[in-house]
Symmetry: C2
Subunit: 394 residues, 2 copies
């Protein structure tokens, strides 16, 4: 039996207890919980088949009451002594994609980000479209290309038309970017023809992850009219391996910025609440941005209520992300196109100046949020390195 050591300042103490899917060499992926620098194997600890699965989906589908119960059981378990066979150093395990992604939706919920992109893409028009303050704008992404942190990102190729060119050419993306986001994972689905009220968010959403929605800006700019982003985004979306339970994010609740005009009734919360999650973006190890999730205009509950407002079902494993998180200050921008103002204001990384991503570059996004009593909890990280475009993709 092992008593798990949890340093007092650990971001993975008893107030966090995020779930993930891990394996050691030669073993099958299964569900674990991170505690300090250890992973606790829930299948081994509890002998429950639902944790011997390669994704969190079967456990999530058991519903809110069960999530509460298991969280209590895990807390009891790791507060005492844990069977040796159920404890692994986090440095010795491989983390896998924690969920079987059903549908993936990406929103556009930061007013600062939407305004910045409006100014960059449509300099002669109002930065926000007329609908922006009435509904959370969103679109479907490609669920089959959601990958776990650490997966290399092959530079996408595609059609892009440079300014001044008459016709597009095909080749490797020249403006490869990131989008630092928070993603929410639906635990239990809804029925077709009904909608999820804002009040049901807290019992239907299982947890949150960090998201890097890699974006090929040149491909996107050429293709996106009139049906929205497609190949400029669909090559890869990275998520962090540890799903922070919504049950751990109570102390992080903060009001959203004031919403004016008042949203329509189906989007109205008594008090719309966001999360005080502080992200940090590292470009080849150097911190370049601190996007503040608390600045997001639309709340996570509003995003889910909107997503299902037309009676569309949500399902266990649905992932919906916030869209790029940007605050009002320059160093709070969560995409390089904003941070470098369309490539016109390079960022100094070590001895070099950068605008968009070069082959070999690595981007890591981390985040923490308030825990109880002045402590903090961690989201871990989502990281990825750019590999050159494949020869067959040129």
């Amino acid at each position: 039996m092992t008593a798990i050591d949890i340093p007092e300042d650990s971001l993975f103490g008893l107030a966090n207890l995020p779930y993930g899917v891990f394996s050691e060499p030669g073993t099958a992926p299964r569900v674990g919980v991170r505690v300090g620098e250890s992973v606790v194997d829930l299948a081994a600890a509890f002998g429950d088949e639902v944790f011997a699965q390669p994704t969190l989906n079967p456990f999530m589908a058991q519903g809110y009451d069960r999530w509460v119960q298991v969280r209590r059981q895990v807390t009891e378990l790791v507060s005492g002594e844990v069977p040796d066979a159920a404890v692994h150093p986090v440095a010795e395990v491989t983390m896998h994609l924690p969920i079987d992604v059903a549908d993936y939706v990406d929103f556009y919920a930061s007013e600062h980000h939407a305004s910045n992109l409006g100014r960059l893409f449509r300099p002669n028009a109002p930065p926000l479209q007329p609908n922006w303050k009435h509904l959370p704008v969103g679109y479907h992404g490609r669920s089959g290309t959601v990958v776990v942190s650490g997966t290399d990102i092959v530079r996408p190729s595609g059609q892009r038309r440079a300014p001044g060119e008459d016709v597009p050419t095909f080749g490797p993306c020249r403006r490869l970017d990131i989008e630092a986001e928070l993603g929410f994972i639906v635990g239990t689905g809804s029925e077709r023809g009904t909608r999820v009220p804002v009040a049901d968010f807290a019992t239907r959403v299982f947890g949150a992850v960090l998201v890097n929605d890699w974006s090929a800006r040149d491909i996107q700019a050429w293709e996106y009219v009139p049906l929205g982003p497609f190949l400029g985004k669909s090559f890869a979306t990275s998520i962090s391996p540890w799903v922070v339970p919504l049950l751990a994010l109570g102390p992080a609740r903060v009001p959203t910025p004031v919403q004016d005009p008042q949203p329509l009734p189906y989007l109205r919360e008594c008090e719309p609440w966001g999360l005080d999650v502080d992200l940090a973006v590292f470009w080849n190890g150097q911190q370049v941005a601190r996007p503040p999730y608390r600045e997001m205009y639309w709340s996570p509950a509003q995003l889910l209520a909107h997503l299902t407002a037309n009676g569309a079902t949500c399902r266990t494993g649905d992932l919906y992300a916030s869209g790029t998180i940007s605050g009002p200050a320059k160093h709070e921008r969560g995409a390089f196109i904003e941070l470098t103002w369309g490539g016109e204001e390079p960022v100094r990384i070590g001895d070099e100046y950068r605008t968009f991503l070069l082959d070999g570059d690595e981007v890591t996004i981390t985040a923490t949020a308030p825990g109880p009593n002045g402590t903090r909890i961690g989201f871990g990280e989502v990281t990825g390195r750019i590999r050159p475009a494949g020869v067959d993709l040129e």
Copy 2:
């Protein structure tokens, strides 16, 4: 043993042999093939577990050579005598969604449709966007709301802003429409970071179905800038239950319309080929349109090559649809917004005039294609009836 009767003019003769998933009362859904007015239970006939599954995915994942082999075995089987226990009248079985839908992508591949919508939505601009003839424009839809033919469609609610109104209101859709399309089902997936050449279409795509991509035009018009259609489409997409194998569509191959400018190399086929599939749209039983698939500008192989041009994977069960099929003539338009020119030219249905769908309306889309020696093969139908918006959705 039963010798299956196949009338000489059957649309489901030996040249077709579409696959579906069926059940009788009290039995589990499993894979069958339609022959004449019978369904042949492949699990019972062949004793192979891959056909005892509730979706075609495991069989499709076995790959092209296996599809060829099974088609030959089925042909031999139904040409002789079939065990009684493996034959069911089609009228006595329930058809299920034939595939586990991985990602769903909808294209916009008809020049006539894109031009008509351009004229309606952007009357003061060129009907086609600058990118349209360079790439097949597409976007991701919601795979979780793909339903099988016969499923009722609850009228979606959502935000819509009528002309002359300053602010949007929330309520049941007032301009509920259809889109008559052909959908292609990916049988075997690709690797991340590679692309599917146009030449691989024929061995990677398993078959085709009819698609009705129900569309809430008022919701769509308000929400779709700048990230594309979302809630205006995501409430439901209906598909026909019988998947016509690509192996059955050889005689239906026809050249696409001339593509000018010449597409970029990754989209270039020796001879781009479409399919001579004739659709028919019935509104409450009355035929209102005959959309010709042969008029589509972009070929199905080009759609798949484009979808994966950035290195995005495709997976077993991916569904990608053509977008609305419209020909040059008015009676060839596959969406009511085109057929009624934005609601200004009502269509006579029996004694009534209609623009968009009313509660209780039923829409059925059927199609046939050339088979060998002057015969024809059928796609069956995709049908759906509109139910009133739920009270909680108003």
